[in-house]
Symmetry: C2
Subunit: 335 residues, 2 copies
């Protein structure tokens, strides 16, 4: 019955809605039952896990308490992303009163417990994609990772031809640079065609909490694909992004240089040079040493040797079904 309450979708449980502490916790614990009483809404869609037949676990993230499942609902494929809920701090203490615990270990001052809730608390959230296509299933699957050690020779013989062959469109990048889109979101800009850039918020940032700040500086100059292409002639561009980017972030968000992780991705997700600025407290995806290259390290390395990134072997992760995965496979790189 609950699963038919489609009218609730117009009023999602939103943490940002202010409610008194007491009520919020009651809601979280009891709303499921209460909602069962009102059933006058139109029902264009319904779902219950009793209708879901598991086909395969696509991905498991034990640290993030998340699993992705491929299954069927009726005769159609479905993908379900199941994730434990983060704790709701304002009402946590109160909600904990309604729990019982079972000790699993005790040693000196340390004890561990399993925690059970007596009320009906929504402790998971689910995302359902139904009907799901092959593409959905592939996108949510755990694709096997391989570490590639890209020598300059491998770059020239495998990677560069693959990038050129894929003919990515940069129209969306040019739209930002020419202020045709997202112009109201611009945080900093320098129109100079050689050393200029436009800085905009990344989609992953809600622009509310500066501790999850994520900005992207996109260079005006065209034709620089990635750090592989950087030489001494680009130092004024790189130093301009660093200095003007830092100044703009301090001015607009009061976040100082010593709180900012500033880096390139290699491989990048698109081959028009751009720099990531993220708050050091934000565990952004792609900050791993196998992908992130600190802007200041790049500047130092090029100053030491203009050909550093022309000569360097660069290590990174390639995943099954990536375009680059097929390019390396064609050359029999993986054994």
């Amino acid at each position: 019955m609950l699963e038919k309450m489609n009218n609730i979708s117009t009023q999602p449980l939103d943490d940002s809605v202010p409610v008194c502490k007491k009520r919020k916790c009651d809601n979280e614990c009891n709303e499921a039952e209460k909602d069962g009483d009102s059933s006058s809404a139109v029902v264009p869609f319904s779902f219950a896990f009793s209708d879901f037949k598991l086909v395969k676990v696509l991905r498991e993230d034990a640290r993030g308490k998340l699993v992705t499942l491929h299954g069927t609902v009726g005769d159609k494929d479905a993908v379900v992303v199941l994730e434990r809920k983060a704790f709701d701090i304002p009402v946590l203490e109160e909600c904990l009163q309604q729990t019982t615990v079972k000790e699993t270990l005790q040693n000196d001052v340390y004890s561990t417990f399993d925690v059970y809730s007596s009320g009906s608390i929504a402790h998971m959230k689910a995302t359902l994609i139904h009907p799901a296509t092959e593409k959905h299933i592939s996108k949510y699957s755990d694709r096997e990772p391989f570490i590639v050690r890209e020598t300059p020779e491998l770059y020239r013989s495998v990677v560069l031809p693959s990038i050129q062959e894929n003919k990515f469109s940069f129209q969306w990048v040019y739209n930002i640079l020419e202020k045709k889109t997202e112009s109201e979101r611009i945080v900093a800009e320098d129109p100079d065609p050689e050393v200029g850039f436009v800085m905009v918020p990344d989609m992953k940032w809600n622009r509310e909490n500066v501790e999850s700040l994520y900005l992207i500086a996109i260079v005006h100059r065209r034709g620089i694909r990635s750090i592989r292409d950087l030489r001494q002639e680009h130092l004024p561009l790189l130093e301009n992004i660093l200095n003007k980017g830092l100044a703009a972030i301090e001015e607009k968000f009061s976040v100082k240089a010593d709180k900012l992780r500033i880096y390139f991705h290699y491989q990048p997700s698109y081959y028009h040079l751009h720099v990531h600025f993220t708050h050091v407290k934000f565990e952004a995806p792609g900050t791993d040493a196998l992908r992130a290259h600190l802007l200041e390290d790049v500047i130092d390395n090029i100053k030491m040797n203009s050909e550093f990134y022309n000569l360097k072997t660069l290590s990174y992760i390639v995943r099954e079904h990536d375009a680059l995965y097929y390019a390396f496979q064609d050359k029999k790189y993986f054994v």
Copy 2:
């Protein structure tokens, strides 16, 4: 009543214990109630969240679904680490049958739901430290991070004196190297005093799942504090660790080089040179570009310039209350 079941601590719910799928799920859902019936045990310790008064949220990890709380139990301080449970894949499908869902959003093929369990499922685990000292509270607190750009000059004037002053004991390291402890855990070894090392599993690895493989190679040679000290003369040592380490891991665990992230930490947690080998699928702490330095990059950089790590400015995170934090503060590095 449940919280007094201290006898349960001798039989922790252990996922590795084989039980039939049906029973496991029933257990997870109902064990809390069932256990309430047997109460003949000695009760040296009891805890319930109704006794816990929250003082302060020490740390929040929304991605890991984890919070650390400082509170009091009676008149004593306590630290509680509260963490959502990861999903138990073998019984997941069955447990999902006992849930109800409430739709929170619907758009085309995408829907999101809050998920409620009807049974009593342990969906959190808690670690309690009680009584807790100031040191416990500080250890579990979120300490403010600062990015330091350590120039060679800062290394010599601030960092090296701080390392020397702290006079860390390496006895536990020497015990491993001399096989006084952990000798049964050794994965690979080369007794050569110049290029040799001992490889042992890190405490974070349970040695069961190779996809969370975490090994440490500790060099026999004494006096190399960190990558700052590495020069061309150390290339045979570094290449020996790389080659023999990879060979041992492939032989013992069938994990190949293209699945292994191999790196130093800078700053390291102890100043006797050691190398981390982790499975690329394992999101080990400390793989961020602000801490991890790939062994193969270090080898390449030293080959290019023996003084690379003597001249390089190295960026890393220092946290409030770290020894280095105070060292930098004394020199008025933070403004």
